[in-house]
């Protein structure tokens, strides 16, 4: 129990050091938002794994905005960094799925052609 309290205090101290202003023009914010838009544009919502990370990214951006409003710029930066990482992961996961489907389509077409030939 004592250890838990110490952990919370440490966390609070750490978090307290996050106090500074951060505006919506800050690169961290712009980059995080841009990464989320990139994921939305390639329909990451339609791929379950990608959607999971996209939802996390959006949630974290909302949290960062709240922190920014409270003047917790440093913490907001770290949250935005994680949001960006999630959004970029969403983009890559969506791309991987779309490319997998393209490859499968081509393989199916090839199989069909070969089967026609055998027939």
């Amino acid at each position: 129990m004592h250890a838990v309290k110490i952990a919370w205090v440490a966390l609070a101290v750490f978090a307290a050091c996050g106090g500074s202003s951060l505006s919506k023009t800050a690169p961290e914010y712009v980059q995080a938002r841009s990464a989320v838009r990139g994921a939305e544009e390639i329909f990451a919502e339609q791929e379950p794994k990608a959607k999971y990370h996209l939802d996390l990214a959006r949630t974290q951006i909302a949290e960062a905005e709240a922190l920014m409003k409270d003047g917790e710029g440093n913490e907001a930066r770290r949250v935005l960094e994680r949001a960006r990482a999630d959004a970029e992961a969403a983009v890559s996961l969506a791309r991987a799925e779309w490319m997998r489907r393209e490859a499968q389509q081509e393989l199916d077409m090839l199989d069909k052609l070969l089967e026609e030939q055998r027939g």
Partner: protein
């Protein structure tokens, strides 16, 4: 009011209960696991730079853990390391699937090209066969055309021959006595027109008449016979008259055969004085009895009727 990121809760943070030990945070464990998976699969092959970024983040997380196990820093960098490893593996999958797609496309193109080539070869063979067939068809058409021309020429010749035959027959009406007897025609030449008295050599003056008859009968090949009958009057011995009439009939036959009438279609018969057509007690009657009668087949008769 300070906020604590609720996403930590979503990622299952339990560090508060264990921060007293050196146990890695869940984020760090997750990151280690994900980076290890990236090292094991084809990420290193297809996306080495992405893997390196994930490993760098993991290294920072490990350092933070070493300095202060379970710290915010450890969890933050571990979180980033995990996401970067996920991203690196996904990008490697993109490249791998792209390669699979491109290889499948390329092979599809090769198979299709071979198929097209085979079809073109078949097409070339068919075109060659068609060309040969067309040449043969053209040659056959040429032969048919020649046959048509020959046929037309033969028809024209036949028509001409038929016309000439009819004209010849018609002219007989002027040169001899021509009677239609049912389906036959009997051409009767007076004896003194064809022969001198008691002779069986045809007079030159009779040649024209008999030649017209020969023209009408030339090439006749029907079933019925052309019958030449020689007749005399009743003066003199009967046996003599019979012989004379026979010789005269033979002479006419010989004349006709020499001018194209088929010999096996002509029969010469001597009747002597047996078939008079007039009384023998007058000079006129006797003259009428002295005759050569040629019976023409019905086919010849029919051609005359067509005039």
């Amino acid at each position: 009011m300070r906020h604590v990121s609720t996403t930590w809760a979503m990622t299952g943070m339990v560090v508060l209960a264990s921060c007293a030990s050196d146990a890695a945070s869940p984020q760090l464990n997750d990151a280690r696991q994900e980076v290890a998976a990236a090292r094991a699969d084809e990420t290193a092959r297809y996306n080495p730079s992405g893997l390196r970024l994930a490993e760098e983040s993991l290294a920072r997380a490990e350092q933070a853990h070493e300095n202060d196990p379970g710290s915010y820093g450890e969890r933050h960098y571990a979180y980033l390391a995990h996401r970067k490893a996920v991203q690196a593996r996904a990008e490697a999958d993109v490249l791998r699937h792209k390669r699979e797609r491109d290889e499948a496309k390329s092979q599809y193109g090769v198979v299709l090209e071979r198929r097209v080539h085979r079809v073109e070869q078949s097409k070339d063979e068919l075109e060659r066969d068609l060309s040969v067939t067309e040449r043969e068809l053209e040659r056959t058409r040429g032969e048919l055309s020649e046959t048509d021309q020959d046929l037309a020429a033969a028809r024209r010749a036949r028509a001409k021959s038929e016309k000439e035959r009819q004209e010849a027959l018609q002219s007989l009406y002027d040169l001899a006595d021509v009677r239609e007897d049912g389906k036959r025609v009997i051409v009767t030449f007076a004896g003194n027109v064809l022969f001198r008295s008691d002779e069986s050599e045809i007079l030159p003056s009779a040649h024209e008449s008999l030649e017209k008859l020969a023209d009408a009968l030339e090439g006749y090949d029907g079933e019925e016979e052309i019958v030449i009958e020689g007749h005399t009057d009743a003066r003199g011995p009967e046996a003599y008259n019979l012989t004379l009439s026979r010789r005269r009939a033979e002479a006419v036959k010989t004349f006709l055969v020499a001018r194209g009438v088929l010999e096996d279609k002509v029969r010469a018969v001597g009747r002597g004085e047996a078939d008079p057509i007039a009384p023998n007690d007058t000079a006129e009657g006797r003259a009428n009895n002295r005759r050569v009668a040629i019976t023409l087949p019905s086919e010849v008769y029919m051609s005359m009727r067509r005039r």
